[in-house]
């Protein structure tokens, strides 16, 4: 065989091998990798209905439990608020139950305050320690000797807390960091209603949002997320349109058909300007205005100083854009105008919200399908009052407060540093917390009496938006308590009992589950007995009482007349020359106001707009960044009249050039291993009160300046910074 023959032979052999390998059927080779048709899956799971309490929306959940362990939270399809869907925070709530850094038993402080040195005590010991401290309160006759801080509460828990504080001569201070105070005030003025309106987005043809991030954080994001999907694509011939007005394109704004980048604090002017156009073009609903008690000529007179040209100048938009948005709003009915958190948190927030509501009235959207709706009964919740909270801080500093109790709130974290809350708290001789986690406030406590987490508790939740659906959701334990904790209401009841006291209308029923059951019986209108037992079981199975037959209100029933004025100028903390940029603080789509920051799933979920994880950031317009010599990921110092913080920069192409944005949610000093010491808290830059006449929280009323510090900001984004601009490579 010569060389050439040999090569030919090897070549032929190789070719043969390659051909034969193609004919092998891989499925035949791997019979056991494909699961057999009748393969088995371990275990049968149980499902328990309850309510998500990660935000006030109160969505219904179903928890899957196998072998005594909760494995997955799903939406409750029967619940009218969320119809089986959940947001990211709702999905992650499971991790609060099994969080490795939960407080596992009552703790007594051993080190100095804030050192985090605690030692375990028994429940008897813990409760009697608190009882002892409270004993004095009742007899001392000191007003406000005890203060009880909670979130806004409803139902039986509210009754309990109220009775408890009264019993001990204390004061109940409800607090929400994303306060709805301005919304409520505006709602009372415009509609004569205390509760917030529900927006029937699903049936609307046109929506304009003024800073309302209703798809991520605003009031009831899952409810509105579901409605948004229907608005876009559930009707065969109509695709609803959506416009967003705000200085920063939020996640919600990203879904809008058009974005109006209005200047900070000018949203109300824009709304008023649009009202002006509708009045001038006579696109309003005349008969409706009569019913609402509004007069066209008066309204026109109120707008006299604000021709379209001036509105355009003030808002930084073009006349054409304002005009076409106004025309669309008036013509594409039913339409809805919504004002949101970033508008409410300006010093002219109430005015602006009213201006936005005027739009709804002008086009007769009240009580209509696809419009603004209220439930038959005004749900008077305990509203938080910022002003009252600030007075409390004075009381604490003054030394008149002897006991401070905390449940479900973390004011040390959630109030601006300048409020002096932490310092004032230091003056309080005894602090007790019912928290399940060592949040920044609980860290200061002398005694911790840990509550069950939501999935181990009983309770009821009236959703923040009941609208026309009249819902009471029931919370039930889905697993046995994981740790040695005690239900908060039972702790209160036992404290009252040791005092020999009674809580009117509650003590008679013994423990809290019995109280709840009785409350639900009354709400459902059943007599006690076997009949109700069935209803009770059914209610728990369904996850609440859902009266879907109730009719929405059609008419406005307010005490006085709604007098419309163009919103006054917003005031800002910080001089424009020294502090050239507006600081735009918004609740994070993933972390909300920070109460979910301890959940690792959420920490690692990329922020939808910046794709950032595990931290905070500052969003800057690319042109501004360029002029300041700042690039993506740089560390900068943000300085306001009230303080300064350091954060990494995200170059954000959808924000006004004079605005810089930061999310709420991080910057906890404590709160478990996943949140502690992570990122910064933008509240550190705020003054407690910006507008002296109007003691309301103002997240959006601060001016800042920035300085580049270094290249290493420690920013982590899931998306590649350059690749994020190269969507065209995907041909989408």
């Amino acid at each position: 065989m010569n060389r050439r023959e040999f090569l030919q032979l090897t070549g032929a052999a190789a070719a043969g091998g390659a051909l034969s390998s193609c004919t092998i059927n891989p499925e035949k080779l791997i019979p056991l990798l494909v699961p057999p048709e009748d393969g088995s899956i371990p275990g049968v799971a149980d499902y328990y209905a309850s309510i998500c309490r990660q935000c006030p929306a109160g969505c219904g959940i179903i928890v899957r439990v196998s072998e005594g362990r909760a494995n997955k939270i799903e939406g409750n399809p029967l619940h009218p608020v969320n119809k089986g869907k959940l947001c990211a925070r709702g999905q992650a709530a499971l991790q609060a139950l099994y969080h490795p850094d939960r407080i596992r038993q009552p703790l007594k402080r051993t080190g100095v305050r804030g050192s985090g040195e605690f030692s375990p005590v028994s429940w008897e010991e813990g409760l009697s320690l608190l009882a002892e401290k409270l004993k004095g309160m009742k007899t001392a006759g000191a007003r406000k000797g005890m203060i009880f801080f909670t979130p806004e509460l409803q139902g039986t828990i509210l009754q309990l807390v109220k009775a408890f504080t009264e019993h001990f001569n204390g004061m109940h201070v409800p607090y929400e960091s994303l306060s709805l105070e301005s919304h409520r005030k505006a709602s009372v003025d415009v509609y004569g209603r205390y509760e917030l309106p529900d927006y029937d987005i699903g049936s609307a043809q046109y929506i304009i949002s003024f800073g309302a991030d209703f798809l991520e954080t605003f009031v009831s994001p899952v409810r509105y997320g579901d409605a948004y999907g229907r608005m876009r694509r559930a009707r065969p011939t109509v695709r609803g349109l959506f416009t967003y007005a705000g200085p920063r394109m939020s996640m919600t704004a990203a879904s809008a058909d058009s974005w109006l980048p209005v200047k900070t604090g000018k949203e109300g002017i824009l709304a008023a300007g649009m009202a002006g156009v509708i009045l001038d073009e006579e696109l309003y609903d005349g008969p409706a205005l009569n019913i609402y008690g509004l007069n066209v000529s008066e309204l026109k007179a109120a707008m006299a100083d604000y021709p379209l040209k001036r509105v355009a100048e003030e808002t930084g938009l073009t006349e054409r854009d304002i005009f076409s948005a106004s025309r669309d709003f008036a013509r594409l009915r039913p339409s809805i105008a919504i004002a949101g958190d970033t508008v409410a948190h300006q010093t002219n927030g109430i005015d602006s919200i009213k201006a936005v509501h005027l739009l709804n009235l002008l086009t007769g959207n009240f009580g209509k399908q696809g419009g603004v709706r209220f439930s038959p009964k005004d749900l008077k919740q305990t509203a938080s009052s910022y002003s009252k909270l600030l007075d409390t801080i004075d009381d604490m500093s003054g030394g008149s407060v002897r006991v401070a109790l905390f449940h479900g709130v973390d004011p040390v974290y959630a109030l601006p540093k300048t409020s002096g809350f932490e310092k004032a708290l230091g003056k309080v001789p005894f602090i007790a917390s019912f928290s399940s986690f060592q949040c920044d406030t609980t860290r200061q406590a002398d005694l911790i009496l840990p509550d069950h987490t939501d999935l181990e508790s009983w309770g009821e939740v009236i959703p923040s938006i009941g609208g026309d659906i009249g819902v009471v959701g029931t919370v039930q334990p889905v697993v046995r308590p994981v740790h040695n904790t005690l239900a908060f209401p039972d702790a209160l009841l036992s404290l009252v009992k040791t005092e020999g006291g009674k809580v009117p209308g509650i003590s008679a029923y013994g423990d809290y589950p019995a109280v709840l059951k009785e409350h639900i019986r009354q709400a459902s209108g059943h007599k006690p007995g076997a009949d109700f037992e069935r209803v009770w079981t059914k209610t728990l199975q369904r996850g609440g009482i859902f009266k879907e037959d109730s009719k929405p209100v059609k008419s406005i029933n307010r005490s006085g007349k709604f007098i419309f004025t163009v919103p006054r100028k917003a005031v800002f903390s910080g001089d424009e020359k020294q502090f050239p940029f507006h600081l735009h603080i918004y609740p994070s789509a993933i972390m909300f106001d920070g109460r979910s920051a301890h959940l690792p799933w959420l920490q690692e979920t990329p922020d939808p707009m910046t794709t950032a994880v595990w931290g905070t950031w500052l969003e800057i317009n690319p042109k501004t960044a360029g002029s300041l010599g700042i690039t993506h990921g740089d560390l900068v110092e943000v300085e306001s009249p009230a303080g300064s913080i350091r954060v990494p920069v995200v170059i954000y192409p959808a924000i006004r050039s004079e605005v810089m944005a930061m999310p709420l949610g991080q910057g906890h000093r404590n709160f478990g291993r996943y949140a502690a010491g992570r990122g910064v808290n933008p509240l550190d830059l705020l003054e407690t009160v910006v507008d002296k006449e109007n003691r309301l929280p103002a997240l959006g009323a601060t001016r800042v300046r920035i300085k580049r510090i270094s290249k290493k900001g420690g920013l982590i984004t899931a998306g590649h910074p350059d690749g994020s601009y190269r969507g065209e490579l995907l041909e989408i």
């Binding site: 499925e27 990798l33 899956i41 072998e67 869907k85 947001c87 499971l94 490795p100 982590i716």
Partner: protein, 237 residues
């Protein structure tokens, strides 16, 4: 693999006009499928394990800028390029048109990950950690993967199997809407629709015929079964 005689051919439609980028699906998937959290340091290194991600693309310049969201998960390609390259058949095509992943077969060559144009395959660079008692949340239906193996979206195969088993017990086929993967189940605007493409009456099949339909990287010819519906309206998209 069209020669399969199965009654089922699982498919998905994602309506980008509904998707708001809210990321509920991302967490739902992580919760359902025991997808570990990797922590800050490892996230920074690009080692996050999400089976589903929301891609956000910027388009245009201020003020005419748009942000687009597109949820990307395994496209369950009919002609999956990740399959033939796997030397051990850990990545394979099931008779119902899924791209299966056999964790205990995988040796971790990461070849499949290179050859998946969507980069949806994630690799366990280290042993997953669930500090106690966080491990109690693990879904018993889903294997916990060890270090050194590849993983990715399975279309929630454990839910498919449960659904099929129930249907079989009752002597029928799986009904439309009976099986929902975790991501579709939670999606507030209902952007994700899952179902049986072999059933020409199913909602998912009818949606998949929409004129707005397109597939990501369609020109690569891998025949993805995840079908996207274009978003946008007045301004076009």
């Amino acid at each position: 693999m069209s020669k399969s005689k199965s009654n089922y051919k699982w498919g998905m439609v994602i309506d980008l006009d509904r998707c708001t980028g809210c990321s509920a699906c991302v967490v739902a998937c992580q919760a359902e499928n025991n997808v570990p959290v990797v922590g800050e340091e490892r996230s920074a290194e690009g080692r996050m394990l999400h089976w589903l991600r929301i891609e956000r693309y910027w388009d245009g310049e201020y003020p005419h800028v748009r942000a687009r969201f597109i949820p990307v998960l395994c496209q369950q390609c009919d002609n999956a390029p990740c399959e033939p390259v796997c030397p051990v058949y850990a990545s394979y095509q099931t008779p119902e048109g899924l791209n299966g992943q056999v964790y205990n077969r995988c040796v971790g060559t990461r070849y499949c990950a290179n050859n998946c144009p969507w980069s949806v395959r994630v690799f366990n660079f280290h042993e997953p950690e669930w500090p106690k008692p966080l491990n109690d949340q693990l879904n018993p239906d889903v294997t916990v993967r060890s270090k050194g193996v590849m993983e990715k979206c399975t279309f929630c195969i454990q839910r498919i199997n449960r659904g099929k088993m129930k249907a079989k017990e009752e002597g029928r086929l799986v009904r439309d809407d009976e099986i929902q993967p975790a991501c579709a189940q939670t999606c507030p605007p209902g952007a994700i629709i899952f179902g049986n493409m072999a059933d020409k009456g199913s909602f998912v099949f009818r949606l998949s015929r929409s004129s707005r339909r397109f597939r990501l990287l369609e020109d690569l010819g891998t025949e993805p079964v995840v079908i996207y519906l274009k978003g946008g309206g007045r301004e076009g998209a």
